[in-house]
Symmetry: C2
Subunit: 170 residues, 2 copies
């Protein structure tokens, strides 16, 4: 399973909607601004999330997006599967199970793939948006002064192109 830029955007957007869960519909533009995402691209992502019934929209002026379910009921796996496909590193879980059964020569290999997917699934099924927020910066038992997002570091850490020969570690 590979999480694309689009997948990351989706997760970021969902985190915004989670933080603002009680505040009604949030405009695409506001989400894009808060997370510094390309607005039109984000629009497509939200549309997809809406069609999958994870979020819902309010149309017209004063419109926007909001979660359709409580943040504790939305698992990361659901979002990632929607945007980036199966969690398995190759094919999907069902295919792998079939291959394990039918392709004796490689079944040991496919079993390893399935192990990997199960390990990923375990983590991503058990992490909800609510978890993410409760582990977030506002919840680190810091003195809360109401002036949120004040001197937070605006990280401009561009993810590097990852050259092939780059000192091991993955």
């Amino acid at each position: 399973m590979k999480i694309s830029q689009k997948g990351l955007y989706a997760l970021q957007a969902m985190m915004v909607l989670t933080r603002r869960y009680t505040q009604g519909a949030i405009r695409i533009r506001d989400i894009a601004y808060e997370e510094n995402l390309p607005e039109k691209f984000l629009e497509l992502i939200l549309l997809e999330l809406k069609n999958a019934r994870i979020v819902e929209s309010v149309r017209g002026a004063k419109g926007g997006y909001q979660l359709r379910r409580a943040p504790s009921e939305i698992r990361l796996s659901e979002i990632i599967r929607l945007i980036d496909g199966p969690l398995a590193p190759f094919g999907d879980a069902d295919q792998l199970r079939v291959l394990i059964d039918r392709d004796a020569d490689h079944s040991a290999l496919y079993k390893v793939f399935l192990e990997v997917r199960d390990a990923a699934a375990k983590i991503l099924e058990n992490t909800t948006l609510a978890d993410l927020i409760s582990r977030g910066p506002e919840n680190k038992s810091r003195p809360r002064n109401g002036n949120r997002r004040s001197n937070r570091r605006k990280t401009e850490l561009r993810v590097l192109p990852m050259v092939a020969g780059g000192e091991g570690h993955d």
Copy 2:
């Protein structure tokens, strides 16, 4: 981490070289034939594995490829990293650690990504080519009659295109 077709080919080829570890250099053509892989494409893959010093080649007539180290010393992680890049589902482990440190707003999210990569790494670092073969069809305590690869089912299970709306499960 996503394993490409190329990555799968690489692993299949390495399994052949493992099964034939004692037999000296094996021709590309023979590997391709045994595993039903496109010969010229496999050639490129083997070249890459050679440049990474995982296998070695013997040139000229009667040439071919063989492992450079014992099968028990070659981990799946090594092959997959070479062909398909980092095991992390997003970026690589080092990047994730930096992001966790520097991007407070999303550090919970990146921590989950890192958990996933660690889980995958744990499995793939701890599985060697030797493991794969010892778990394979020839080692299932079946009566060995010397007539290997006799009536094995030649699986022609093409991996499906994976339509987007295909009944959940990944």
